[in-house]
């Protein structure tokens, strides 16, 4: 396996459409709930341990070879907000396109055929990680990392936040990201025996509520 493949997959410049999404921070900024590095830290930390953990677990499970259709259904059940389901599938389609170019393989082609409307993004991420020769823990790391870099990058654009401060927020979260990735990979390892019900379903009321409110805005900078 190539360690560098993980860097490629987790790079914010990986062309899978993520740059147009704020991970909910655009709504939080509008509500003045995120306004500085301290509140951004709290937002990213909360997102990591809720949506981030859930996504990392699904990604890890997809890497271990769980049935993508079963995982996709589990992702639906863990994503009650339709705006977030649509976003996840859209990002899934976009990641699939990039992954098929980067690591062409039958599993990715099959996913495109089985779920033409798009699979949930973490499911695609997991299969892409496998195609790139990565492990379930690697996929979980990529998903957990993405769950905090997305809002942090968006906050820099929305608030004109000092980019060094935003990067320091991410750096402080590294241990938490590692812990979440390990928790996700451990849960994923149990799916084969115990079913997808063992995957974490950590959720956040505010992310679900504000995603729908944001989707109803007439004017917004970010798609989600």
């Amino acid at each position: 396996m190539s360690r560098t493949a993980l860097l490629v997959l987790a790079d914010g410049r990986f062309p899978a459409g993520g740059h147009a999404h704020s991970g909910g921070v655009e709504a939080a900024v509008a509500a003045q709930a995120v306004r500085d590095p301290v509140t951004l830290d709290s937002f990213c930390r909360g997102r990591l341990h809720t949506a981030g953990l859930t996504a990392a677990s699904l990604a890890a499970a997809a890497t271990t070879g769980c049935d993508p259709l079963v995982l996709d259904e589990a992702a639906d059940a863990r994503t009650p907000a339709p705006a977030l389901r649509a976003t996840s599938r859209k990002l899934g389609r976009q990641m699939l396109r990039a992954a098929r170019a980067a690591w062409p393989c039958p599993a990715l082609d099959r996913l495109a055929r089985d779920l033409p409307g798009g699979a949930h993004q973490p499911v695609v991420l997991g299969i892409a990680a496998h195609a790139a020769g990565l492990t379930a823990l690697d996929a979980a790391h990529a998903a957990a990392f993405d769950s905090v870099t997305t809002p942090a990058t968006a906050a820099v654009r929305l608030l004109g936040l000092d980019p060094f401060d935003a990067t320091a927020v991410i750096a402080r979260l590294c241990d938490d990201i590692d812990a979440v990735a390990c928790q996700a990979a451990d849960a994923a390892a149990r799916v084969a025996d115990e079913g997808v019900g063992v995957l974490p379903a950590a959720s956040s009321p505010l992310l679900d509520i504000t995603a729908e409110q944001h989707a109803a805005w007439p004017m917004r900078l970010f798609a989600s």
Binding site: A31, V34, H49, A51, A77, D176, P205, Q213
Partner: protein, 268 residues
């Protein structure tokens, strides 16, 4: 499919109360019957006068709790064609117990074909120092209907929240329809931050499952005003179900929006 309750290692022996109350509803061809109504521990089950063809049971909290170390369970089984409403007379108050062990509250709701359950308890209040793990596992037959309300108050007035985790799993025809796990209070990172509940001290959900629902025809309804301390959304799920998620500053405002959501859910 396993539930969290089954996954957990057994809790250590404590002096806590271990109790399981059970309700079973059936249908005798004319009306809903209640062949089993078994109170236990703090749960006193009382039969109320039916409303039309809807059988009704009230759960009366006979003692305070759950306290740390308690292992409480309430199982309701609604057989084919039966219609049952379960309400509660009082809030459930999670309190600090003699030990720091977590209390568990395990709710299992099974609803058969053409059956309906209205699960409408009072709020669960997490007081300072308490530690409660609530699980609610719902198993719906393909043609079963459900109205489920779940309200959590994070600390009494002026009080911090205890440690409260809540896991709601809804299976329909054996497939996952909704799976949500919330964790509030110390030591959960940033649980009161802007990505989880913020400064809101009450949060709740209302779930309506009805096989005749067409989720695609039900647009999202915004509840309350995002600029005020009480707001939420009513959304269609992937299956034939609607879910309201609401946060508020008080239990009263929370209930008002959930009532509004129920009204919107039932009147397309």
């Amino acid at each position: 499919m396993s539930t969290l309750a089954e996954d957990r290692p057994p809790l250590p022996d404590t002096s806590g109360v271990v109790a399981t109350a059970r309700v079973r509803a059936g249908h005798n061809g004319r009306a809903t019957t209640l062949p089993l109504l078994s109170s236990d521990g703090p749960f006193q089950l009382q039969k109320l006068r039916p409303r039309g063809d809807l059988a009704r049971v009230d759960v009366i909290g006979a003692m305070s709790g759950p306290l740390g170390g308690d292992q409480l369970a309430l199982h309701a089984d609604v057989g084919p064609q039966a219609r049952l409403e379960i309400t509660a007379a009082t809030s459930t108050i999670a309190l600090r117990g003699p030990s720091d062990d977590a209390a568990t509250y395990d709710i299992r709701l099974t609803i058969g074909d053409d059956a309906a359950l209205h699960w409408l308890p009072q709020p669960l209040i997490s007081t300072a120092g308490s530690n409660l793990r609530q699980t609610c596992a719902v198993d719906l037959a393909p043609t079963a209907r459900l109205v489920l309300r779940d309200e959590q108050v994070l600390g009494r007035t002026g009080e911090t929240c205890g440690h409260l985790t809540s896991h709601l799993t809804v299976l329909r025809a054996g497939r996952p329809l909704l799976d949500q796990h919330t964790s509030y209070g110390h030591p959960h990172p940033a649980w009161n931050g802007p990505a989880v509940v913020g400064s809101h001290r009450a949060c709740g959900q209302l779930l309506v499952v009805d096989p005749s629902l067409t989720p695609a025809a039900r647009p999202t309804v915004l509840l309350g005003n995002p600029d005020t301390p009480a707001h939420g959304v009513l959304v269609p799920l992937g299956g034939p179900a609607l879910l309201a998620t609401v946060v508020a500053d008080t239990a009263t405002r929370l209930r008002r929006l959930l009532d509004q959501a129920l009204h919107r859910a039932l009147t397309p």
